[in-house]
Amino acid sequence: MTLSSCLLLSGALFLIGIFGALTRRNVIGILMGIELMFNAANLNLAAFNHFLHPGGVAGQCLALFIIAIAAAEVVVGLALVLAINRNADTVYVEEFNLLKG
């Protein structure tokens, strides 16, 4: 286990997240992709903290904040999905096309 391998992992995770966000048609799927991206950042932070800046815990702390924020976003996002589903009866992004131009 080296820093590089951790970073590679996180990079891969980040890109998989991006890929998910770009390709899932379901809003919830997109949200999951975004969660993966957040986690990639967390992994980075933990790895950097461990390998490069072992003196402090700022990286971990930051990761904690990100976890909290990501959670909050998921909560709001899912609530929004519920509301939309109630109004428009869809969760597919390509059907969100009232606003355009």
Partner: protein, 478 residues
Amino acid sequence: MSGLHLLFPEVALSVMALGVMLADLFIAARHGRVLYHLGWIASIVALLLVGVTISDPARYQGVGTLWSVDPMSQFFKMLVLLTTVLCLLLGLEYEDLPPAHAGAFNALLLLSTAGLMFLVSAVDLLEAFVALELVSLSSFILVGFERSRSKSNEGAIKYFLFGAFSSAIMAFGISLFYGVAGTTRLIGLSRSLASNPVFLLAVLLILLGFAFKASIAPMHFWVPDAYEGAPTPVTAYLSIAPKIAAMAVLLRVFTILLPASALRLTGLLALLAALTMTIGNFTAFFQDNVKRLLAYSSIAQAGYIMIGIVAGNTLGLEGVMLYSFIYVAMNIGAFAVAQLVASQAPEGAGDRYGLSSFDGLAQRSFGLALAMAFFLLSLSGIPPLAGFIGKFYIFSAAVQSGHYWLAACAVVNSVVSVYYYMKIAYHMFFMPAPDQVPLRLGPYLCGGLAVAIAGVVIFGVYPEPLVASVQASAQYLP
């Protein structure tokens, strides 16, 4: 934990936001308007508190662990608060908001404002990120506040997805930043970092995160959709407060803490600025919905403001502040008139925010049409309105720093912008009126409009006090 007292206004505002939320429990739904009054009063209180901090800089300014309270941040805090007050005045006369949720609305708006106040003071990425997220989350909810309206929902979800995506990117950027720099604090970074490509990537990803708030290309895509979907007072708020706050952060970061020139990012920033204004202006051409049009216009305006950051000199710094101030007045004014006109658009006319709602406004209410014309002309930078002073300052900065091509691009853009601004004027002045009935003007909206028009005209004709105060505020205490 040093210097917490410096953040007193923010903290007070947060507490008042929670208070408004609690007050909702004790106030009957039909008296929801009271909460709006509480909201704007709270903002004014916070404004006064900021005023106090300005009046006694020795005690109330300084650098905390994660934040820096200095004249510049105070300036932007006041602007944000002013915007909040004006938007709440607009909200008072916006009929489509559910009165039952006035508490939530006001609390979220105030929380968002508090977040912005933290944001403009932040000198640490962690603090900035958290504050940014507070703003974003509140904004997502506010955009979707007309939850039974599909457009509002749609605007909110698009805004949310885009926002979450850019947050994730920014978080990744911050993680890289931490890795390379070993800290998230922006003060006292080693110069050698500038040559590290990973560090540059981190900076760019973080830049994207702020650009999202400031609606700088390529992070502007959400803007028209969210603006159109959101309730108009929220649109007005979003088009101003987060944008200028994000600009303040970018200004702080890229002109003072990590000068763009040191990172050799000036060219990129200039490119982004040019791209932003061009996209904003040229796309605004085709808009028939006034909110959408103003959305693109606000993208373009962001491009102009960004020139000040690109210039990176004192003039640029002052220019950003000056322009932001003026931008508050003119944009609020434009949205206020748009809201008023749309609310009294003829029934069954399709899109209430369509340009045709403005038909013949000059014959119905000449003063209102004139005011709108003033706002639009100010936005396009025609003297002697305040917008000109802002542009003048910004362009000066560009010329002084030798960014001639950017300045040329900007002036060409401002010519182009006249066309679509005048499209509204065309409807107001040239089209026949459906009837001659003057528009009803509520007292709060009227007040907001008066402030805006006064700002646009007075600071256009006699900008000296404003310029002087901006010059005084542009002294940074790192």
